[in-house]
């Protein structure tokens, strides 16, 4: 799970979270008590579908602004360690 979540946890964290998450999982598993085979799922509380916007160009954020908070940048790009 930590690989999927891209979290490198310390051994101490693993021990602490294992206990806490077991208790939480046990509590949330309660949803399985209900027989909801014929119930539709709700993903969103409002009955809003296919919201379209006018296809009009607007100014976007300048590249320099978009890069302003980057930990590392080079030649107008975000710079990262080798993949």
């Amino acid at each position: 799970m930590t690989r999927l979540a891209r979290l490198e946890l310390t051994e101490d964290e693993v021990a602490r979270f294992t206990e806490q998450l077991s208790a939480i999982l046990e509590a949330v598993a309660k949803v399985s008590e209900l027989d909801l085979a014929n119930v539709e799922p709700t993903a969103h509380p409002l009955d809003v579908v296919n919201v379209w916007a006018e296809d009009e160009p607007r100014p976007s954020i300048p590249a320099d602004d978009a890069l302003a908070n980057a930990p590392a940048r080079e030649a107008g790009f975000f710079k990262v360690p080798p993949a």
Binding site: M1, T2, L4, A5, R6, L7, E8, L9, T10, E13, R16, F17, Q20, L21, A23, I24, L25, A27, V28, A29, K30, V31, S32, L34, L36, V39, E40, P41, T42, A43, H44, P45, L46, V48, V51, A53, I61, D65, A66, A68, N69, A70, P71, A72, F78, V80, P81, P82, A83
Partner: protein, 469 residues
């Protein structure tokens, strides 16, 4: 000399309109109050010295992006992050001439019910600094309560506006989902997050809601309000049907002092002319909490994937390659609660578990919405305590995440259904404020303001903490 402890935003507006005080003087009075009282309370993460605007100043929870002003969402992973654009709610407040006072403390990424999960230290309750202000919008709640801001915006996912408003003795509105723009808000659980006003009075709440609500082309989940916001004036409840859901009023863990104060308010509804009756939400309360703690972490695990050390925020180098950078950055940058929720959400969404957890929780959500809709066939508004307890002591629940989650057991069900909820102070128990939760159908904010205002007048709650008088 302005008494910021007593001054409502509406009264401040009056002072400005009559020219009795300038916007700059008003702003300065709040900064002075912050200088005097915020060392103890720590409601603010940072203040803004240069007022721009001729209106009543405001404070924003620190997950609301403010152009040029650091915005951290209470997390180390966003330390030093300076937004390059304003959230739509900020733009609307600016357009209304409201100067920014500062950014308020919060549980990291709005995950918590006490503001103890802030990476920058906890906020304290102005009624008793040994106690929490609630959360996650605890900084905004404490600021309004202690006269450090005339009003503030918070955000509410599972109860993060209503619960701290309750614990601090102020008014908090969680609006109908989709009525206030989320553009420029640090996302936690997108199908639940809503920005809401936190104020001293119901009329202030309606005034601020009127400024921030409405459709925003930058947030496709927003809608136009069906009716304009009305500032409440009526002091009776004649013709109104008030429902008392059994499960929300008799849930395990509701303190007897809280119950008593809330029962008095329900009796007041009768005296004000309302028809009061019992109703039931049989599965909403029992299954609301488990449903929320699957859906919110699932959405959070996806939303928080963006904190990867690439585009903004913290980066921790070392190891070999980009993957090690991602993992180290996230381990160093996130506190315990976001990590727990990311793992829980990742698990709930993973192959083999998706249907049993996330899929099932989405169906429970339908059940909860249907149960509320059924109750609203007979009633205009539902009432209950906002929080099962008054403000608890710092550290009391810090080691037990599950106990902390139960703080929101009464606010979560209506949130899952996208319904608006207003919390108003309705009295004291053990010298600490108790909040009354008013829930209505979608887009019923005007009804909630009407009921809240009539009760506020009848209750006569003094919102200034006794120790500060």
């Amino acid at each position: 000399m302005i008494d910021t402890l007593r001054l409502t935003a509406e009264a401040a507006l009056g002072l400005l309109e009559r020219g009795e005080v300038s916007a700059a003087e008003l702003h300065r009075s709040y900064l002075d109050a912050i200088g005097e009282r915020d060392d103890e309370l720590h409601a603010y993460l940072r203040t803004v010295d240069a007022p721009n605007g001729a209106g009543v100043p405001i404070a924003f929870k620190d997950l609301i992006s403010t152009r040029g002003v650091e915005t951290t969402a209470g997390s180390k992973i966003l330390e030093g992050f300076v937004p390059v654009y304003d959230a739509t709610v900020v733009t609307r407040c600016r357009e209304a001439g409201m100067p920014l006072l500062g950014k308020t403390n919060m549980d990291e990424f709005a995950m918590g019910s006490s503001t103890e999960n802030s990476a920058y230290g906890p906020t304290r309750n102005p009624w008793d600094p040994e106690r929490v202000p609630g959360g996650s919008s605890g900084g905004s709640a404490a600021a309004v309560t202690a006269g450090l801001a005339p009003w503030a915006l918070g955000s509410d996912t599972g109860g993060s506006v209503k619960q701290p408003a309750s614990l601090c003795g102020i008014v908090g509105l969680r609006p109908t989902y989709g009525t206030v723009s989320r553009y420029g808000i640090v996302a936690f659980a997108s199908s639940l997050d809503q920005i809401g006003p936190m104020t001293k009075t119901v009329r202030d709440c309606a005034l601020l809601y009127r400024i921030v609500a409405g459709r925003d082309p930058c947030d496709s989940t927003t809608v136009e309000l069906p009716q304009p916001v009305e500032i409440p004036e009526r002091e009776d409840l004649k013709g109104l049907r008030v429902g008392v859901p059994r499960e929300l009023n008799e849930a395990e863990g509701i303190e007897s002092g809280v119950k008593e104060v809330v029962e008095r308010s329900i009796e007041l509804c009768r005296q004000l002319g309302a028809e009061v009756g019992e109703t039931s939400l049989p599965r909403s309360v029992e299954y609301g909490m488990p449903c929320y703690y699957l859906i919110a972490p699932a959405e959070a695990s996806s939303n928080l994937a963006r904190y990867d050390g690439v585009r903004y925020g913290l980066r921790v180098e070392g190891g070999d390659g980009i993957r090690a950078m991602y993992e180290r950055t996230r381990d160093a940058g996130f506190g315990d609660e976001p990590k727990r929720r990311i793992m829980l959400g990742t698990y709930a969404l993973s192959a083999g578990y998706y249907e049993a957890y996330y899929g099932q929780a989405q169906k429970v959500r339908t059940v909860i919405a249907d149960e509320h809709a059924a109750a609203f066939r007979d009633f205009d508004v539902l009432v209950s305590p906002t929080s099962p307890t008054v403000a608890f002591k710092l550290g009391e629940k810090a080691e037990n995440p599950l106990a902390m989650y139960l703080s929101d057991v009464l606010t979560i069900p209506s949130n899952m259904a996208g319904l608006p909820g207003l919390s108003i102070p309705c009295g004291l128990s053990d010298g600490l404020p108790v909040g009354l939760q008013l829930i209505g159908p979608q887009f019923s904010e005007n009804t909630l303001f009407h009921v809240g205002y009539a009760l506020e007048r009848a209750i006569g709650f003094d919102f200034v903490p006794r120790r500060l008088q």
